[in-house]
Symmetry: C2
Subunit: 92 residues, 2 copies
Amino acid sequence: MINAFEVPGDEAERFIAAWEKTRDYLATQSGYVDTALHQAVTPGADFQFVNVARWRTAQDFQTAIQSTGFRESAAGMAGYRPHPALYQVVRT
Amino acid sequence: MINAFEVPGDEAERFIAAWEKTRDYLATQSGYVDTALHQAVTPGADFQFVNVARWRTAQDFQTAIQSTGFRESAAGMAGYRPHPALYQVVRT
């Protein structure tokens, strides 16, 4: 799962706190493997944050984000436009 | 370096061929570590492709993409809107 977030430059700390709350919930869910939150070091990047998470299966991820616990834990992310999708590596 | 590309659904093969040509060049440059091209499995994803590459330093990457060889090898990517930036992992 890769999710690119549109976050104003001066809201990094607030975004990270909201992201951590969501991560703490998702990390308890079946099929969660790991995650890495990337912050841009390039000035003016279109996406200040990109999250790259691994899940055992697509179904595990879908089940996790359809839960009430997810919606509650992710409430603080509402102000940041996300661009999420599930991906597979096709070339290296 | 994370780069999210806007690619129409029916141009996947053409995009991958162009990406491979660019990768083959960049893989010869100083500081290149590795790369992974991710293709969306979610229908309607904003970005059909996201490339996640690792470089030894930001300067190595900047030097590589300012070369004539890069511009030549990346000519086939011109039609696909990119959203590139350099990132560091801030949370896991």
